[in-house]
């Protein structure tokens, strides 16, 4: 099999070639560390090295499906392994305009920040610039919500954000073609020239890094090296390195496999490729599945969602689960694929315990099937977190309800995150509710059952008492929302 041990990408338009063995660079070096320590592009800052502050935000651009247009995505460079940007365009704040001390030469998003006095210590500023730059290239109306959503993954401790929000509005209000629009044709050509469709296989500094180009290569690699850590967006895996300073001996990077990024939907179900980024998934289902959009909108930050995948989220089998309560409530199933075939199983069977799944050592999650709620069903998901955005749930809950014409509960499901070692169903509450009147009296009784149904822990996020009360209160919230929808 033909392989390569180097990568090529464009940095602010200029071609860069990295031969890991020759240059003695560890393949899993993050884009942030490479920029700062090897390329002397210190404009990209490290604020936390764990994807929580956005100071390291860069934009990665690549052609869309038509190959006629560039798609710009803001990502956290601290969680991005270098091979993942092979063949792509990496953009930093120094690449938006020629270096200048003339405010009029700056990129419009940069100029707006200067004009609105929206930098103080300036350390977070390049990250904000890049998140705004990605938004500048997103062809949708940037209203307050969109601006908030695009910038919620960038922390600033000085300005209080007001001036930054003003700058965003100024910059996005009058969007003219920028340098990248003007150069788009050339950039597409340069990127095209970099495409090789060859498996990346580097072995350097006691680390083997495989990045297959095709699904067959990926399946073969998975079967041959089950010990390899499978990564896609690497937003979780990279923490081992960036936060815990652990050495990862073997990485199998499947971010290049297009077969994992399919998306289909019909009136009954969504078929989401496990390798689809959460933000791409969100954009696909905004109207089709509002409850999923609601939870994805507060899933980490846009930078994380641009990299993280649904497969990664389900595969990590965390007790919080993020999307899992909702997917379980909807009876989602997963298709697992290996070199010897494929199998499909309900998500409820796939997750077997605390961070445990039924995934075999030669398998990948290929597709997630999410049946859409029927017209007469009500489905909602709620997340309780200390901070609204960019926070992990303290408690989350997904509800699914069908009531009959006599206002009696015909079908009910409630799945909770944060209440046990895995995402868990409120079975006692469910049994109680079935066939009961969907009324405030019933709900109050159900809440008293619910409050004793789980035995959550106290941790950094909250005490057990709050978890219990909030879990019960979410049922009340769901009831309230069903009532206001019906009225």
């Amino acid at each position: 099999m033909k392989t390569k041990n180097s990568i090529s990408f464009l940095l602010n338009g200029e071609a860069v070639h990295i031969d890991f063995a020759l240059q003695n660079i560890k393949p899993s070096t993050t884009v942030l560390n490479w920029l700062r320590n090897y390329a002397h592009h210190t404009e990209t800052k490290e604020g936390c090295a764990e994807g929580d502050c956005g100071a390291c935000t860069v934009v990665v651009a690549q052609p869309d499906k038509s190959s006629q247009k560039l798609i710009y995505k803001a990502v956290n460079s601290c969680l991005l392994f270098l091979p993942s940007i092979d063949g792509k365009l990496l953009i930093t704040s120094r690449g938006l305009a020629p270096e200048t001390d003339n405010v009029n030469i700056l990129h419009p998003v940069q100029k707006a920040i200067v004009d609105e006095h929206a930098s103080q210590c300036g350390f977070c500023t390049p990250g904000f610039v890049m998140s705004l730059f990605a938004l500048y290239h997103k062809s949708i109306d940037a209203d307050d919500n969109e601006i908030n959503n695009a910038l919620a993954g960038n922390l600033c401790r000085c300005t209080g954000y007001d001036s930054i929000r003003k700058a965003a509005k100024v910059a996005l209000n009058d969007r003219n073609p920028d340098r990248f629009d003007q150069l788009e044709h050339d950039l597409l050509k340069s990127l095209d020239a970099l495409q090789q469709n060859t498996m990346f296989d580097a072995d350097c500094q006691n680390q083997r890094y495989l990045k297959p180009a095709t699904i067959n290569e990926a399946l073969a690699a998975r079967a041959a090296w089950p010990e390899a850590l499978v990564v896609n967006g690497s937003t979780d895996a990279a923490l081992q390195q960036s936060k815990h300073f652990k050495h990862i001996p073997f990485i199998l990077d499947i971010s290049g496999i297009n077969e994992f990024k399919n998306f289909n939907k019909n009136g009954f179900q969504i078929e989401a490729g496990a390798g689809l980024s959460l933000e791409d998934l969100r954009l696909e289902i905004v109207d089709a599945f509002p409850a999923l959009n609601d939870i994805l909108s507060v899933f980490a930050s846009r930078q994380i969602r641009n990299a993280a995948t649904l497969g990664g989220n389900l595969g990590s089998a965390s007790p919080i689960g993020d999307t899992t309560p909702l997917l379980l409530a909807c009876n989602a199933s997963v298709k697992l694929i290996s070199i010897s075939g494929s199998r499909t199983m309900p998500l409820s069977e796939f997750i077997t315990g605390y961070r445990q799944t039924a995934l075999q050592k030669d398998e990948f999650i290929e597709t997630v099937f999410i049946p859409l709620p029927a017209a007469d069903e009500k489905v909602k998901m709620y997340k309780v977190s200390k901070r609204h955005d960019m926070d992990i749930s303290t408690v989350s809950a997904a509800f699914r309800l069908k009531i009959n014409l006599e206002n009696k509960v015909e079908n009910f499901a409630a799945f909770y995150g944060g209440m046990a070692a895995t995402t868990i169903e409120a079975n006692e509450t469910k049994s109680f509710l079935l066939a009961k009147q969907w009324s405030q009296t019933t709900i109050e009784e159900a809440m008293s059952i619910l409050i004793g149904e789980f035995n959550p822990i106290s941790d950094a996020r909250s005490g057990a008492e709050f978890r219990n009360i909030a879990a019960a209160n979410l049922l009340q919230q769901f009831f309230n929302d069903t009532q206001s929808e019906m009225s």
Partner: protein
């Protein structure tokens, strides 16, 4: 001058002097400095237990790890093993015992950060653990006193309490706060000859970092240079904490004879550095049927952590602001400092003032609920007067009181009364979503309460090409100090800002400086810069008759008629006699004029007698007010700030855009303190929120869509640089209005009949549990 640098103006004011570099990323923070040949990377080895006796530290295995160059334990320190800023109770590296989890036991330098961190993990620590003290209550129970109690008292408190119509009392808690500056602590130490050491160090207090580095190295301060160009945020978190990193880096550099870069990772920074002080305060307030306060007693208990650091100064500021904006005839303010087995708590924007003020604001809120009156009426009734009822508990007069004018302004601009009505109507209709509204006044005393610290130096050079370099002792940490210094220097000298460069702060240019803290940066350094400029201007004027006389022969030119304006040196009495600044300076140099001047300033007439709790500790007061409206989901505890109105008295603002940035930034930082920023420790003393995934500062979505900010107009200050007022800290406690608004919303759950037992921070958990307790 060869090049015209562009200092961009926007909204008619100069923007931050680094902003063009900020947006491009070309500003150079310490970690952006290129590596020095042979440079090592360092990290700290920290204690895994919160309290105990050190039996043995074994570095033998760690020393054999790949890439390791140098490991230092306490016994290797050539000088004093001390890094306490005021009291010497903080070892640089623990030797006999550990007093908090995260205390440094050894420091490691290796070829790379990864190698250093892996080697640190290989250091074997044998510590005999002891039960730690982790709360103020435990510290009180065990009488773990840090420093003797302080007291400020006026009137006959006990006697008046006995006669008061109503007396309320309670216990109030406010939590700590992590600074979360974006740039973590860092020092690059570069050894030189003869024990010289240059430290590029994240410090708000270069002279103190210099002193501590000299002490741990066992050398004199004249061999140590600390240079700080800018900080990526500080907020008090680099007032003393930066010293530690500097001392560790310098020790490793001195031993290895190589440059050492010690940058704390985010998680280490959060785990080992001090925070805002937690307070637990017992209060009692006596008042009449109208809500006029007659007596107030408060015992402020501060959690110092394991060592003194600046705790006593912070406690003192809390005490000096315990009455906030209110004249209270009979008052007793007691301050206790308690030792716990946590990192020594440090300065944080507000410096105790918010903690002291929150107690009385909560008490006033409670009075209003008790009397069923609008809280603002209670506030208004008790505000300090202008000509009477205007003496602080410590005897100083509250001069130029602007409370009434700020109050009437904000009540109008925020449409307070109409909104109060609407909110009541809303709450009557809404069971699960409640709204709340609150106004909070702030009176903030400006000056270091340790009087001698109120001094500053500057050094201004005019080079013979006409370009000017301004050096001062303050630190640029985002607050725009250098921009203001540029403006001050340009305006005082009569030249354009474009010819001025403000440089990195360096202890060999300005010695013996005070920290850039207490909101004093512009006040003190601005005056010092002005003093230097005044001297230079005088010299230019004195040489002008000679220079201009040669250019305009046969004219009589008097030095007293010379003015410098718009980059020209002219004779004000003869408009045709004028010379451009470049040419004039070149000639002045040839005339052997001294074109460099050291400036100095000391704040006049301030003093404080600590034992007796009386004095005039402040040069002046800054006033501010805010109105916040929130919406609380009582099921989930989510509180959303819907609108905030802020008015700040910044005197005659030097740069209103920079000042507004300080006000909003301070308010939002305060918002974090009163809402989502929550610190929890486990029973072993481990901080559970030691990383941004569990410690939550505000994001852009936490600020209201409607945020109105106003600086008080036509309000020049007296006897300060360009009649301005300090603006760094006073906005921080404005966020207490958001907390009170949350409390108001929670109170609405039971129609304001029950006092909500709410603490700071009002996290979603705190809110939901509070409502449960009210049942």
């Amino acid at each position: 001058m060869k090049k015209q640098y562009q200092y961009t103006h926007s909204h008619n004011e100069p923007v931050h002097d680094s902003s063009l570099k900020h947006v491009q990323g070309t500003t150079i923070y310490f970690d952006d400095m290129p590596a020095i040949e042979g440079e090592l990377h360092a990290c700290v080895v920290t204690s895994p237990v919160a309290k105990g006796k050190i039996k043995n530290i074994d570095i033998s295995a760690a020393e054999k790890m790949p890439g390791v160059q140098c490991i230092i334990t306490a016994k290797d320190i050539p000088g004093d093993n001390q890094m306490g800023a005021v009291f010497h109770d903080e070892p640089c590296i623990a030797s006999q015992r550990v007093d908090f989890m995260g205390q440094t036991l050894a420091i490691v330098a290796a070829n790379s950060l990864e190698e250093a961190i892996r080697a640190a993990a290989a250091v074997k620590m044998d510590i005999e653990p002891e039960p730690p003290i982790l709360s103020i209550e435990e510290a009180i129970n065990q009488n773990a006193v840090l420093q003797p109690q302080r007291k400020i008292e006026r009137g006959n408190v006990d006697q008046v309490f006995a006669q008061c119509k109503h007396v309320l009392s309670g216990r109030f808690r406010s939590g700590g706060q992590e600074h979360w500056y974006l740039e973590t602590q860092i020092c690059i130490a570069v050894p030189g000859e003869d024990d010289e050491m240059t430290c590029y160090c994240s410090t708000q207090h270069p002279s103190e970092s210099q002193a501590i580095v000299a002490e741990v190295l066992g050398t004199d301060r004249n061999r140590i240079v600390v240079e700080t160009r800018r900080l990526g945020g500080a907020f008090g978190g680099k007032e003393t904490s930066g010293n530690h990193v500097a001392a560790w880096a310098a020790l490793l550099a001195a031993k290895s004879r190589k440059a050492v870069r010690l940058r704390l990772t985010r998680d280490t920074d959060q785990a080992i550095t001090g925070k805002r002080h937690r307070f637990m305060s017992d209060w009692k307030i006596g008042f009449d049927e109208n809500g006029a306060i007659q007596a107030y007693e408060v015992v402020l208990n501060a959690d110092a952590g394991y060592a003194s650091d600046l705790t006593m100064a912070i406690l003192e500021r809390a005490m000096l602001h315990a009455e906030n904006a209110y004249f209270i005839p009979h008052i007793r303010i007691v301050g206790n400092s308690w030792k716990t087995n946590l990192p020594s708590n440090v300065a944080f924007r507000g410096f105790g003032q918010p903690q002291g003020m929150a107690v009385i604001e909560n008490a006033i809120d409670q009075i209003a609920r008790f009397l069923k009156k609008e809280p603002n009426n209670i506030r208004l009734l008790n505000f300090y007067g202008s000509n009477e009822r205007n003496t602080a508990p410590y005897g100083a007069e509250i001069e130029n009181n602007r409370l009434d004018s700020v109050y009437s302004k904000i009540v109008n601009s925020s449409d307070y009364h109409a909104r109060r009505k609407k909110i009541d109507e809303f709450n009557n209709q809404s069971k699960y979503i409640k709204r709340g509204l609150a106004l909070t006044p702030v009176k903030f005393g400006i000056s270091f309460t340790t009087a001698f610290l109120n001094q500053a130096g500057a050094l201004v050079h005019i080079y013979s090409d006409g370009s000017i370099q301004v050096n001062h002792g303050g630190i640029e940490m985002g607050q725009g100090l250098n921009t203001k210094m540029l403006q001050v220097a340009a305006e005082e000298l009569g030249v354009n800002v474009e010819r001025i460069k403000v440089t990195a702060t360096n202890t060999s240019k300005i010695p013996n400086t005070s920290a850039t803290a207490a909101s004093s940066g512009t006040d003190l350094n601005g005056m010092a810069v002005k003093n230097a400029i005044d001297q230079l201007k005088e010299r230019l004027k004195n040489v002008a008759p000679e220079i201009l006389g040669e250019m305009f022969p046969n004219k009589t030119i008097l030095a007293t008629n010379i003015v410098v304006e718009n980059d020209m040196v002219s004779d004000a009495s003869q408009p045709s006699i004028s010379c451009n600044f470049d040419e004039f300076v070149a000639k002045a140099y040839l005339k052997q004029t001294h074109l460099s001047a050291a400036g100095f300033y000391r704040t006049p007439d301030i003093w404080f007698d600590r034992p007796n709790g009386v004095g005039k500790p402040f040069h002046y007061y800054a006033f501010a007010m805010s109105v916040s409206e929130v919406e609380v989901n009582i099921l989930t505890g989510r509180a959303k700030l819907l609108r905030a109105d802020l008015i700040e008295d910044a005197g005659q603002s030097i740069n209103s855009m920079i000042d507004k940035g300080q006000v909003i930034g301070g308010f939002v930082q305060g918002l974090g303190w009163v809402t989502t920023e929550d610190l929890k420790w486990n029973k072993d003393g481990k901080l559970l929120n030691a990383s941004p995934d569990t410690y939550k500062i505000p994001t852009i979505t936490d600020i209201p869509v409607e945020l109105n900010i106003e600086l008080l107009e036509n309000a020049p200050n007296h006897n300060t640089i360009r009649r301005s007022k300090a603006v760094g800290e006073p906005p921080f406690p404005l966020a207490i209005s958001a907390w009170l608004a949350i409390k108001d919303a929670v109170s609405a759950v039971y129609d304001h009949q029950i006092e909500p037992p709410l603490s700071i921070p009002a996290t979603n958990e705190e809110i939901v549990i509070c409502i449960a307790k009210m049942k």
